[in-house]
């Protein structure tokens, strides 16, 4: 395999990694946000606690996407 082909597959792999890896966190964060808004509308007095828990859940959910971003960066620039 020539170096051009390797480079082309690197770009393809990085794009696929980021694109597929962003599906899960996107879906998960959407669900977290939707449920949090529903709970806040039902119990507005709990809004502060729900917001704090929502941000923590979002951050943990987002970690998967960040991992795929780091793998994509490593494929592009490091390996």
């Amino acid at each position: 395999m020539g170096p051009e082909l390797v480079q082309a597959f690197k770009y393809l792999a990085a794009g696929l990694c980021m694109g597929i890896g962003a599906l899960g966190p996107g879906f998960g964060e959407g669900r977290i946000g939707a449920q949090a808004i529903e709970s806040m509308a039902r119990q507005p007095e709990m809004a502060n606690t729900i917001l704090r828990t929502m941000i923590i859940a979002d951050a943990i959910d987002e970690t998967v996407g960040i991992y795929s971003l780091i793998v994509a960066i490593m494929i592009l620039f490091v390996a």
Binding site: N48, T49, L51, R52, I55, I56, D58, A59, E62, T63, I66, Y67, L69, I70, I73, L76, F77, V78
Partner: protein
């Protein structure tokens, strides 16, 4: 476009058998942020009234807002004693990470946000990991804190240790990935957005279109990825730090 990413100017020293690498851009920006925070603190301390009952001067209002926010939002759910002792370190962590994130929008050539460097974020995550042990040992005692690793059954010890490592790594990687991703998006998206907008709006705007569109795109990208993501990620980092320490201490 990408030549600079990840391959910054690095100084290397040899101290005995080990090689120490320093990134002067990261180091300088982090020290600059720290200096700004120190001078801000000294300037604000001079404004403190002698009498605690007196109404606070106007320049202390943002500080009062910040302390109130950290106390009631970030540290909500902790008991009173722990909150008192955690407030300074958590507020300092928040201000430092916020300053580091926001430094990426300053138009100084060669200046990058220190939180784009994995060493900085992992260092902060390790500091938080150390603090969880310190607070755990202080509130529960050394033996009870270490026995927490054998819960619920002693077979779970490797799982608990791996959980600690993964938690600390993901704590550091999250901030690093978000800020670096924002910086890459700003770099990649600005030429594309300028070109597309120029093709769409160029014929409509009779005046020179490039400066207007360029300034607009720069404002939008730096505002979104620099300020909005910077504030959110600083909040997430401190919130998780507070949660980790609280979980170890209670």
């Amino acid at each position: 476009m990408f030549e600079k990413v990840g391959r910054d100017l690095v100084w290397r020293f040899r101290i005995g058998p080990i090689t120490v690498a320093l990134n002067p851009a990261t180091l300088g920006t982090a020290l600059g942020v720290s200096l700004v925070l120190v001078f801000l603190a000294l300037w604000l301390r001079r404004a403190l009234p002698k009498d605690p009952e007196a109404p606070p001067p106007r320049r202390l209002v943002p500080l009062i807002f910040l302390v109130d926010f950290v106390e009631n939002q970030v540290l909500s759910g902790t008991n009173e004693k722990l909150r008192r002792s955690l407030l300074p370190i958590i507020a300092t962590l928040f201000l430092f990470v916020l300053g580091c994130n926001l430094s990426s929008i300053l138009p100084i050539p060669g200046m990058v946000a220190p939180t784009q460097d994995l060493n900085v974020t992992l260092g902060l995550a390790l500091l938080v990991y150390l603090l969880t042990h310190v607070y755990g040992m202080r509130t529960k005692g050394i033996s009870r804190h270490l026995r927490g690793y054998l819960e619920p059954i002693p077979v779970m010890l490797p799982m608990n240790l791996i959980g600690d490592i993964g938690r600390t790594l993901s704590h550091g990687f999250r901030l690093f990935g978000n800020i670096l991703g924002g910086a890459i998006m700003t770099t990649v998206a600005s030429p594309v957005m300028v070109e597309v907008l120029l093709r769409l709006l160029g014929p409509i705007l009779a005046v020179p279109a490039i400066p207007i569109i360029g300034i607009g795109v720069t404002f939008f990208l730096n505002g979104f990825f620099g300020i909005f993501y910077g504030v959110i990620q600083a909040l997430v980092f401190t919130l998780l730090a507070a949660v980790y320490i609280q979980a170890a201490a209670e």
